[in-house]
Amino acid sequence: MMETNGAFEIHAEAEEIVARKDIGYYLSHILFGRVMRILLLLFFILAILIPIIYIASTSLKEPIEIRVSGALLPTGPITTINWIKAFRNVPLVRYLFNSTVVAFFSTILVLAIAVPTTYSIIRFKTGGWFFPAWILGTYVMPPIVVSIPIFAMVKMVGLQNTLLGLLLVHTMANLPIAVWLMDSYIRAIPKELEQAAWIDGYSKLDTLRRVVFPLIRPGVLATGVICLILSWNEFLFALILTYGVQSNTFPIGISRYVGEHGLQFGEMSAAALAGIVPIYILVFLFSRNLVEGLTRGGVKG
């Protein structure tokens, strides 16, 4: 699978390669032959897409066909009956509405808190080494560990089974990851820019608002979309804090549905897709930002 060429051949081509500054290409070209790379690429794309295509096709198959054939693509006529039944039998619109409210407002709150905090940590070393470590530690901690007290606290303030209670918990739960994501964007702003602003008489808050913020907009966007999706997908806190249609978010709603109605695969696929599609639209709209946000935050030592 890996072919290593002799030193001579490489030497012969080396100068041309160096001239093109394309060594990475050359290296992967030699270690993986062309055929190998195309096969890998196909495998990767198919591995990602087949489960998604399968659920989409299942949602369009006739219920009778689903019972006899698990084929990837529909073999018989396609139908919208599963979608109609899913929206009729499951309060999907309500679940999606709840999810939207929780995700949208928790994201706004997260950004409003995370941006100034991250700025303060990086520029003024607020909290020394301990504060950032505490934030990271909180992110690594499994949420189940604090679920009993969170449940008790939300109940104590009377916000159990409300959207407000859940969105506040999501705000707090997503804050560490938001600080972590914003970190590299704020770090990249040259300090001289802010010092110039201070000399011009800007307060620290104005500097953040009018000098730094316009420069970190891509980071704020990436962090915002990621927090939005994380809140939309969040399962554990929604599971223990909401127990009625009026406050169930999409993940809890459809998991209840599967429990109560058994496995009607067509409807289940349609219901699941109803919650997937909005996320995929966001991913396609902001893919560049999302990739940048994830990789900048992820690879720093």
């Binding site: 290593t4 490489i10 080396a14 100068e15 160096v18 060594i23 990475g24 290409y25 050359y26 992967s28 070209h29 030699i30 270690l31 993986f32 690429l41 990767f44 591995a47 990602i48 998604i52 299942t58 689903i66 019972r67 006899v68 698990g70 808190i113 995370a114 303060s120 607020t126 909290g127 504060f131 499994p142 949420p143 189940i144 560990v145 604090v146 009993i148 007290p149 008790a152 707090m172 739960a173 307060s203 620290k204 939309w232 399962f235 554990l236 459809i254 998991s255 599967v258 289940m268 696929s269 699941a272 995929y280 991913v283 893919s287 999302l290 990739v291 994830l294 900048r296 992820g298 690879v299």
Partner: protein, 294 residues
């Protein structure tokens, strides 16, 4: 007045986060520690102080022991496969410029699909009667009878791992790709001019340069994988016969299904200690490893 505000602005900016950290980590941890010494239930918190009874019970609780082993095995296996696959794919694709935009967007799809929906997709795929996997295995003559992937004691855990690998390999791919593309070019040029073989260049240049970042990716993913909950809840509920029981799910079951919050608190504390020790060891191990690479 203004000068005072100005002086305290940095602290005020960080204050909301400080308060939130108190609410979601410090206060809860003290609460959990307190409750772990009591015989509490969900409706009667801080019921009877029984000191270390819950901890004694935990040490002899076989299901808890199994769940810890399962969590570690799960995190280690999926992280290893995801990092390896992600690296190989990233390495092979690192200069496919035309395709890389499309690939990156596609890679985001599994990562951001709601875990509940991922579980439903795989439940469909694995279904013994109507699922795609059995359909094709029967059709191609690989098996003679349909397999109950999620209902079988040996198959259930690997089946869940496969769903997790589908979800997270693209994440490792994206991070490895970014790491590879951030490598400096100069050392390669020198090696190429010196006539080093491609394998040699990969082994002696690429690998040492990219290793620190790949190790970080591995550690990051490993610590997140220890939290696994959603897939277990939706696919097997810890079954069949506790073979897919993991720490997070067991604590959930004890606290919110059996309502023994005191015992659940003790389990939480033990899991937290284990993860802290593990995280410290892994970071120390990383430093040692990096010294050796240098």
């Amino acid at each position: 007045m203004n000068a005072t505000i100005e002086k305290y602005t940095p602290k005020l900016m960080a204050l909301p986060t400080f308060i939130i950290l108190l609410i979601i980590s410090l206060v809860p941890l003290i609460y959990v520690l307190g409750i772990s010494f009591t015989d509490s239930t969900i409706s009667k918190p801080f019921n009877d102080f029984i000191w270390f009874e819950n901890y004694k019970k935990a040490l002899t609780d076989e299901v808890f022991g199994d769940s810890l082993v399962n969590t570690l095995v799960f995190a280690f296996v999926v992280t290893t496969i995801q990092t390896f696959l992600g690296f190989v794919l990233a390495f092979a694709m690192q200069r496919e410029r035309k395709l890389s935009g499309v690939l990156r967007t596609l890679a985001l799809l599994p990562l951001f699909t709601p875990p509940v929906a991922i579980a439903m997709i795989w439940r469909l795929i694995y279904d013994p009667n109507q699922g795609m996997l059995n359909y094709y295995m029967l059709k191609w003559g690989l098996v003679s009878a349909p397999a109950a992937f999620l209902g079988d004691k040996t198959l259930a855990f690997p089946s869940i791992m496969l769903a997790d690998i589908w979800q997270w390999t693209p994440f490792c791919f994206l991070l490895c790709l970014a790491a590879l593309q951030s490598l400096p070019r100069d050392p390669y040029e020198a090696a190429m001019v010196d006539g080093a073989s491609a394998w040699y260049v990969f082994k002696r240049l690429t690998l040492p340069m990219v290793a620190p970042q790949v190790i970080v990716i591995f550690l990051f993913r490993f610590l997140i994988a220890l939290k696994v909950f959603d897939l277990i809840y939706m696919l097997t509920f810890g079954g069949p016969g506790n073979t897919t029981q993991v720490a997070s799910f067991y604590i959930y079951r004890v606290s919110f299904k059996q309502f023994q919050t005191g015992y659940g608190g003790a389990l939480s504390i033990l899991v937290l200690i284990l993860i802290s020790v593990l995280a410290t060891l892994l970071t120390k191990g990383r430093e040692l490893l990096l010294k050796r690479v240098e």
